[in-house]
Structure formats: structure tokens, C-alpha cells
């Protein structure tokens, strides 16, 4: 239900645009995602809304590739487009919570259903709550420990 907390052992996926993917400087293969993907953007009124993610289990398929494709298809109905060369960062909710605790931040993942262009609702959309804008060490720790699936 919208607003409910998502607990372990669930997982989340975060879309990372090409400009925030760390590429190998020689081979150009995706190496990691940058900490910016886990740095909240502050709204004009100063609100930290959290980090937009998708609840992986809502799209669960036997193969992770198919799961990612399912999320990708859903995101194509978002007001913004998924770009080619981007990547998805996958992490367990357990890892997110523990990374927060190691950095003295209480993090949680909550359902945040997203209204799509066609009027339907994406019930897999969620937010990571509790990451401070200036806590780059926490953002970097999360960014370095996610699994990456390039599109």
C-alpha cells in the first residue's frame, strides 16, 4: 500500500542516466555508478523527497535481465524517458538499511506509487528515505556496493 515500508529481503532498482555512470576510461565499459545517483535533489522549497527507486520484487521474473526489462518498460510510461547507455543499480533493502546504520543514518524504503502518463499507477515505485544531501560518504558507499545492469 502506498506509504508502507518495504522490508528485507526485498530489493530495489535505481535508474542511473549515462552522465552518472562511471565508465572505464579506456574500454568505456560501465564500472560503477556515481554517488550522484544516491544524492537527493532538493526541491525549490527545500524538501528532500528521497531517492526514486523501483521495488524489484513487483517485477520479479526468473531471470534478472527480464526483471530489469519489466522495470524499464514500466518506466517508459513515466513523464521522463530512460536513456540508452544508462544503467540500473540493484541493491537489497537490507544493504541500504545497514549502509545507513554504518554511517549513522536511519534509512528506509517506502512505497510511493507513481501515476503514469496513461493514468494508471505504478505500484512498484518507491523512495529511499533518510539520505542527507551532504552525506557523500554514505552516498558513495551505496553507489559502490550496488550491482549494475547496463541497458
Amino acid at each position: 500500500m502506498n506509504g508502507d515500508t518495504i522490508f528485507p529481503p526485498n530489493s530495489i532498482a535505481r535508474y542511473c542516466p549515462p552522465s552518472k555512470v562511471e565508465h572505464d576510461p579506456i574500454t568505456l565499459e560501465p564500472l560503477a555508478v556515481s554517488l550522484e545517483n544516491f544524492k537527493p535533489k532538493i526541491s525549490e522549497i527545500g524538501t528532500n523527497k528521497g531517492i526514486s527507486v523501483n521495488w524489484l520484487e513487483k517485477h520479479a521474473k526468473p531471470k534478472i535481465k527480464d526483471t530489469i526489462n519489466s522495470i524499464r518498460e514500466r518506466m517508459e510510461s513515466y513523464p521522463y524517458n530512460i536513456k540508452k547507455n544508462g544503467a540500473f543499480a540493484i541493491a537489497t533493502v537490507k544493504y541500504i538499511i545497514e549502509a545507513g546504520l554504518r554511517n549513522k543514518s536511519k534509512l528506509s524504503v517506502v512505497e510511493n506509487h507513481h501515476k503514469l502518463i496513461d493514468g494508471s499507477v505504478d505500484d512498484s515505485h518507491a523512495l529511499i528515505i533518510g539520505i542527507k544531501v551532504d552525506d557523500e560518504l554514505l552516498q558513495q558507499e551505496i553507489a559502490l556496493n550496488v550491482d549494475i545492469y547496463s541497458i
Binding site: P17, P18, S19, K20, V21, E22, H23, D24, P25, I26, L28, L31, A32, S34, L35, E36, K39, K41, Y80, N81, K83, K84, N85, G86, E136, L137, Q140, E141, L144, N145
Partner: protein, 294 residues
């Protein structure tokens, strides 16, 4: 930058609103750029002869030769360094400088009504009561610039590539190749989200200058921050890195992240914010500079 002025010149029908002249000096490279000399005689009359600018106009305007403008006027009263962006705009377009390292001869500031703007004004692109007399008339200069139109993102990449080309003889070949290839990936109109902050060419310039000064550096992974800065990341392993976020004002946000450092046998997780000239010393103290230069 000249090409950007030309871009305005060719794309905007109301180029008559572009006025000469402005001299900008990059403190870091000591290079000087002169803009302007496009004003029409009619506008000269409108703006200056009938205007309320009580200056010796002939000293500064309607020169047919930029070099003469430079020779006659530049630096006459010394340089006044403003750590603020500068904006000139006309009724239809608004470009801004967000570079903080540029200097304006004081004479130009006081007499020609070139003024520094607080950052928030520059980004709001609104006419304000604080604007200069020319702006109050909604007829004002348009000078350079970060590209304020997101559709110009490919031009940002082009400008970045030009910065590389200018410094090509001073950079290592592998750095040049890597920067150019990564620019194609991370700054591309086909993949760029127009809601993202536009990349700062000034930040990119600082990154290139850093490579220029520390020629032993190996190529880094390049990304764009939420603020539009360029960040360079040197990976030792997939989970150990040094990250430098190049602010346009020559300051660098640095981050070191190691799980088990080979020299100290301890994890390092440190961040800081220092002048770019101090970065090498700081990173050497953590014994991570060698990662970046191997």
C-alpha cells in the same frame, strides 16, 4: 567563446542589441578574451548618447578594431576581481557567465555599466530592479556564457572538445582520447535529461587544467554532478577510488574511499573541499596520488 558570440550573432535577429565591448581575463591561464564590437550606430545613439551613462563613451565604444579597444582601454585602471557571475541580456535571450575566475577592468565596470551579478540573479534570468540602466530598457548586451538552452547540450560537448583541442599539446594522448570518448557518452542530446543541470564548461576547463598541471595522471572516469560540475574518478579497484569534483571557481570537492588501503592497512573514507592547487599534497598525504598516476 568567440564562436558562441558568433552563434548569438547569427541566430538572433536582434543582434543590434549586442554591444561592444567586454574584456575578460582568465586569471588562471592569463589569457584575455575580448567580446563585442557589434553595436549599430543607431543603438549607440539610443543607448549611450541619449542614455544616462555619464561616461566618456568614445573611449570605450564604436571602435572598429577589437585590438585597439584592448590596447587603449584594457587594464588601464587595474583589474577588479569579482567572484560573481556576470550577465548581459536583451529582451529575448539571456546568457550568463558563471565563471568566477574572470576579471573585469574596473574602468569597464564603473563606466560601461558592466556589473557583477549575484548567482541567483544570473540563474533566474529575470529582469530586476537591480539591473543596469540598459537592462531596464530591456535592451541589453548578450554575452557569453554557459548555454542556457538545454537543447544546446551538444554544443556544450563541442565546447568541451574545443577546450581539449586548445590544450592538446599539453595533455597525454591517452587522456585526450579518453576525455573525448567519454564526452560523447555522457553529454549527448540523445541521452541527456533536459531536467538535469547543464554541464559547466568552466568546470570542464578546470578538469583539463588539472590534467595539464599533473601530466603524470592516468585517465579517469568522468561523470556530471547534480550541480553540473565534472567529476573525475580514479579507481584502484572497483570499490576503491579517489573522486575529484571540479567546481568552476578552482575549488575541488575530493573524496577518498578505500576498504583496505595497501599502505595504511586501514580503510580510508574522507572528504574535503580545497583549492585545486592543494589537492595533490592532500592526496599524497593519504598515499593515494600514486593510484591516479600509475
Amino acid at each position: 567563446m568567440t564562436s558562441l558570440l558568433q552563434k548569438i550573432y547569427t541566430e538572433e535577429n536582434n543582434i543590434k542589441n549586442i554591444v561592444n565591448c567586454l574584456i575578460l581575463t582568465d586569471e588562471y591561464t592569463k589569457s584575455t578574451t575580448i567580446f563585442g564590437n557589434i553595436i549599430s550606430s543607431q543603438l549607440y545613439k539610443d543607448f549611450f548618447l541619449k542614455g544616462d551613462l555619464s561616461v566618456n563613451k568614445s573611449d570605450y565604444f564604436l571602435s572598429n578594431c577589437l585590438e585597439n579597444i584592448y590596447k587603449d582601454n584594457a587594464f588601464r585602471d587595474g583589474l577588479l576581481n569579482y567572484r560573481l557571475p556576470i550577465e548581459f541580456a536583451n529582451a529575448n535571450i539571456s546568457y550568463y557567465f558563471s565563471e568566477s575566475d574572470f576579471t573585469i577592468p574596473q574602468s569597464f565596470h564603473s563606466n560601461v555599466n558592466i556589473a557583477p551579478y549575484p548567482l541567483e540573479w544570473a540563474f533566474s534570468s529575470q529582469w530586476t530592479d537591480y539591473s543596469l540602466p540598459l537592462i531596464k530598457r530591456n535592451k541589453h548586451i548578450s554575452i557569453l556564457l554557459s548555454h542556457s538552452n538545454p537543447s544546446d547540450i551538444d554544443n556544450v560537448r563541442y565546447d568541451c572538445q574545443k577546450i581539449i583541442s586548445k590544450k592538446e599539446s599539453l595533455l597525454k594522448e591517452d587522456v585526450i582520447v579518453s576525455l573525448k570518448k567519454q564526452l560523447d557518452i555522457i553529454i549527448n542530446s540523445e541521452t541527456w535529461d533536459p531536467e538535469d543541470q547543464e554541464p559547466s564548461i568552466f568546470s570542464f576547463s578546470k578538469l583539463v587544467s588539472f590534467y595539464e598541471h599533473y601530466n603524470d595522471l592516468r585517465p579517469a572516469s568522468i561523470t556530471i554532478t547534480n550541480d553540473g560540475n565534472f567529476a573525475a574518478t580514479w579507481f584502484m579497484t572497483r570499490k576503491q577510488l579517489v573522486r575529484l569534483d571540479f567546481n568552476p571557481n578552482s575549488w575541488v570537492s575530493w573524496l577518498i574511499f578505500t576498504e583496505h588501503h595497501e599502505a595504511t592497512k586501514q580503510p580510508i573514507k574522507e572528504i574535503g573541499f580545497n583549492k585545486s592547487t592543494d589537492i595533490k599534497k592532500i592526496l599524497e598525504s593519504f598515499k593515494v596520488w600514486s593510484w591516479m598516476s600509475k
